[in-house]
């Protein structure tokens, strides 16, 4: 029964959103994605804001690990050698994307749009275009 409860994606998505709200109301911070990784290249943000966000995201990895272990979904998977180039290329593009304009990427859908930030709506449009281009160029070619 517990597994069924914790496998209800609607309930879990609501839990994520509620936690985001609780964090904002209690400590005036919210979840961010992109800029949180800038401490990895020595950029810490005003008042170490990016350091805080980075620590939150390390917590996300720990939380995902916790959920996966509890419900028996943890599987250690090593990347195939032929996929490493793709991982590096895609990761580098993500790195460029998240740095070129602050408050883009996944932050758009989770905090930017609910905050009614103008940039978030523009970034969302860009993300759709990027995803569409990739789908049109690569996915369709693969499936043909």
């Amino acid at each position: 029964m517990l597994k069924k409860l914790f496998s209800n994606f609607k309930l879990m998505a609501a839990g994520f959103a509620l936690l985001n709200v609780i964090m904002y109301l209690s400590i005036k911070k919210f979840w961010i994605g992109g800029s949180s990784f800038l401490p990895m290249i020595g950029t810490f943000g005003p008042n170490n804001a990016f350091v805080f966000a980075f620590i939150v995201n390390l917590g996300v990895i720990a939380g995902a690990l916790l959920g996966a272990v509890i419900f028996g979904e943890f599987i250690l998977r090593l990347p195939k050698a032929r996929d490493i180039g793709l991982a590096i290329l895609s990761g580098t593009l993500i790195g460029i994307g998240v740095t070129l304009a602050p408050g883009t990427c996944t932050t758009v859908f989770v905090t930017g749009m609910p905050m009614l930030s103008v940039n978030a709506f523009l970034s969302a449009a860009g993300i759709f275009i990027g995803a569409f281009l990739t789908y049109a160029i690569f996915t369709k070619n693969i499936s043909q």
């Binding site: 904002y24 917590g59 939380g63 991982a87 790195g95 460029i96 569409f132 789908y135």
Partner: protein, 171 residues
């Protein structure tokens, strides 16, 4: 609250986020792929649930801009496109990448570490070159539409509720 305590609190919140993300299977990259393939029901349900709850919550906490409008929006769209291509190739957005690392998929650890050269490229080479063209602004929808943000939020939440209802009805 001291910065050390703030980091501890942040980490605990992060663990909570990670748990819910893992259980909900949230990944906007896979969601976008589903939309392109004509199977948008699950990701749109997740998006609208998050949007409705978070918007209402943020209304009570007070809206403030997340990030910046750069180059009158040009750099936001451009970065979105580059990011969109990146996550589509990787098969994982930021949340998806962090979740998959937690689930033991080390492909995403390489993706995660590869953020570094991309970020460094922009910070060290692109930023100094384009600094004057950025014309950064941190603004909300209400500022440009000249409508109270609360009213915009109410309209968007109502619209999202209708969408959620219609998605729920769709088989």
């Amino acid at each position: 609250m001291s910065f050390g305590k703030l980091l501890l609190v942040g980490f605990i919140f992060g663990v909570g986020f990670g748990f819910f993300v893992q259980r909900a299977g949230i990944c906007f990259s896979q969601g976008l792929a589903s939309i392109m393939a004509g199977r948008a029901k699950r990701i749109m349900t997740i998006f609208f649930i998050i949007f409705i709850i978070t918007t209402i919550g943020f209304y009570f906490g007070g809206f403030k801009p997340v990030g910046q409008l750069r180059g009158y929006g040009f750099f936001n769209v451009l970065s979105g496109i580059i990011f969109g291509i990146g996550i589509s190739l990787a098969g994982g957005c930021i949340l998806g990448t962090l979740r998959q690392i937690g689930e033991g998929n080390l492909f995403y650890l390489i993706v995660f570490l590869s953020f570094i050269p991309g970020m460094a490229l922009v910070i060290k080479f692109v930023d100094p070159f384009l600094k004057d063209a950025y014309n950064t602004k941190a603004i909300l929808l209400g500022d440009i539409l000249k409508i109270p943000n609360g009213a915009i939020a109410a309209i968007l939440v109502l619209f999202s509720l209708v969408c959620l209802y219609l998605i729920g009805k769709k088989k």
